[in-house]
């Protein structure tokens, strides 16, 4: 019962008035940025990082966790009421949710989203509390070669699996790794990519990079696409659910949780894939398949549960291994470092109280989100009437303030603008932002593990596969990289096999697949017409 007593201590810390206040601020801010398309929790955490340097690390992380969970809740409101996903993870919710709202069932859609998020978030956080210490026990036995392999896996998986174009993903990753290289080499003291500029010798501050790419890049992008035909929010009263809705929702919630948590915890997870899988599953299992496409409550309940469970899942590798799997987690990892806390398996041992207070605050945040979202969702939607010039002016102000306050150097403002322009160009040419941020944050850490491995093996590259786990991970990496080619091969062979028979089997699986990819296509279209469905965490 070690976990339980640590968790109770965590609750004691998280429920002190000050920490509780930060949890409230966090969930309010998180919901707000979740509701607004284009703004995400990753950007918010990056913007707030410099502001929170004066706080206790525990309070700051409680607030960040609130922002992260809040973002997941807020995204569903916009998806349902406006058909514009507030977050990339609520893209799927928009498919059925908006149809429900148009059919006059917005209240039920909002209710099942909020309660499902609460159920999934709570179960997910409980799983996190149980699994994270187990992962840690396993992780402390890992040496540098294994770490290096796992980190490479995380980078490549995020780059290759998410997003529509691998080439763009890898271009973005390359940019991120290059930015991460800037500065003095920690082993030999050589200057890398500093262009003789002494101010670059310390490397680029991660706050400046994150704020520039997320906030400045997004602001420039919105400024370039400012005017578009405005929409109207579908009016709703207080969200509620009837008996029938409960009966149809609870199974999708649990199934969504089962999809979300493991995917969030995997290095290539993210919340997009499990929400989509959950949608397809619910469509297949539903007793009312005819309602899908016209507003089926299962299609809202499942994906919303999945994205919140994924959010909890993401915390597992972050806390247990120091391995972020999405943009918000990456920025939180940078936050750990900037507070002088070494993330990794030793985190539970060295910062036990902080970690358990953080986990406890996730439970509290979930509960707070349920009570502020259930009655207030229509009010949150009012935020969307805010003229965006005001909003982005405020964001740019905080971005500038934050970037300057990190080192009190005017040079950082130049960097902010240059990287902001880079962020704008990336959006312009459809490069995903996540690989860049992961590259910047994980790049130096990967390099550290690589250097350590090679030093231990006296420069012999064979040291890289000296641990069995490392070898296993390399096999996985090879599979991920070769998958598209294998896929093509299988596809090429398939038409030959098809006429040979298996009519019944292919007949039962093909239509659902086709329906799934069809709706996938349509939500893509929604996201692009929404304009900024991507670009955030």
């Amino acid at each position: 019962m070690d976990v339980f007593s640590s968790l109770m201590d965590g609750f004691a810390t998280a429920l002190t008035p000050m920490n509780f206040l930060y949890a409230v601020i966090g969930v309010l801010l998180g919901t707000a940025v979740g509701v607004l398309p284009g703004l995400g929790p990753a950007m918010t955490v990056a913007l707030l990082l410099p502001v929170t340097y004066v706080l206790e690390p525990t309070s700051a992380f409680i607030m960040f966790a609130g922002i992260y969970y809040g973002g997941m809740y807020g995204g569903s409101t916009t998806s349902i009421l406006l058909n514009t996903p507030g977050e990339s993870s609520s893209v799927v919710t928009a498919i059925e949710g908006n149809k429900m709202a148009k059919a006059g069932r917005a209240a039920q859609a909002l209710a099942t989203a909020a309660i499902g998020s609460f159920v999934a978030g709570t179960i997910g956080t409980a799983l996190l509390a149980v699994f994270a210490p187990i992962v840690v026990k396993f992780a402390v036995s890992l040496g540098s070669p294994s770490y290096f392999a796992i980190m490479v896996l995380a980078l490549l998986a995020v780059t290759a699996v998410l997003g529509s174009s691998r080439l763009r993903g890898f271009a973005s990753l390359g940019l991120g790794l290059a930015i991460g290289l800037v500065g003095i080499d920690s082993v030999t003291g050589q200057r890398r990519l500093t262009f003789g500029q002494p101010l670059l010798a310390d490397g680029l501050d991660i706050v400046v990079v994150a704020v520039a790419i997320f906030a400045v890049g997004e602001a420039l992008w919105v400024a370039a696409h400012l005017r578009r035909n405005p929409l109207q929010v579908i009016p709703v009263g207080r969200p509620w659910m009837g008996k029938e809705d409960w009966k149809r929702s609870w199974k999708p919630w649990l199934r969504g949780t089962a999809f979300g948590f493991p995917f969030g915890a995997l290095p290539a997870g993210g919340a997009e894939i499990p929400t989509f899988l959950s949608y397809v599953t619910e469509k297949r299992l539903s007793k009312h398949p005819e309602e899908f496409g016209h507003g089926a409550i299962e299609g809202v309940a499942g994906p919303e549960a999945a994205n919140n469970a994924a959010a909890a899942g993401t915390m597992t590798p972050l806390l247990a291994l120091g391995l972020p799997t999405n943009a918000t987690a990456a920025v939180m990892l940078a936050a750990f470092t900037s507070y002088g806390i070494q993330p990794g398996p030793q985190l539970f041992a060295s910062q036990g109280p902080l970690v358990w207070a953080l986990i406890a605050s996730l439970f509290i945040g979930n509960f707070l989100l349920l009570i502020i979202n259930l009655p207030l969702a229509p009010l949150w939607a009012k935020l969307l009437q805010l003229p965006r010039p005001y909003l982005y002016a405020g964001i740019l102000f905080f971005a500038t303030l934050g970037a300057y306050s990190v080192n009190l150097q005017a040079f950082d403002l130049v960097l902010l603008l240059v990287l902001g322009a880079l962020g704008f160009m990336m959006r312009r040419f459809g490069l995903p932002v996540l690989p860049l941020i992961l590259g910047v944050i994980l790049g130096p850490r990967i390099e550290g593990q690589l250097r350590k491995t090679l030093q231990l093996s006296a420069g012999d590259p064979a040291g890289l596969w000296s641990e069995p786990i490392a070898v296993g991970v390399y096999v996985l990496i090879a599979l991920i990289l070769l998958w598209p080619f294998l896929f093509k091969l299988i596809r090429r062979n398939r038409p030959a096999a098809m006429p040979a028979g298996i009519l019944a089997k292919s007949g039962s699986s093909e239509p659902t697949d086709a329906g799934g990819s069809g709706s996938h296509g349509s939500h893509r279209a929604d996201a692009t017409s929404g304009g900024d469905g991507d670009g955030d965490g």
Binding site: L226, R227, R228, P230, L231, A381, P387, R388
Partner: protein
Amino acid sequence: MTIVVGYVPTPEGEAALTQAISEARKSNTTLLVINSSKGDALVDNRYAQEPEIQSIEDRLATQGIDHVIKQPVRGHDAAAEVLDAAEEHNADLIVIGLRRRTPVGKLIMGSTSQRILLEADCPVLAVKAGMAG
């Protein structure tokens, strides 16, 4: 010759539209319906959506009124759009809906109606909600 009406999906806007329709029938002129938004917010409740526009379209068609419906989103405020349209089409009447504003609200946000009243080059007919006939 045309009649320009500034339409918003509110009781005031409805009143203005109803009044404008009866004016257009009386003088048998073209009715130009303007419903604009600055387009800088994601949600603007004063910008009519597809079904509303369709219902206005139907209503005008059944009444046999020669009409044009425009929804400019160019970053200009509603007053500028109505005045532009009036000037461009050489309007002989502008119809607008008035709503009650507090002095403070007017001070901060300005008043669309006031700008149209002061700057229009043709007569302006101002209607309040529930007054049109």
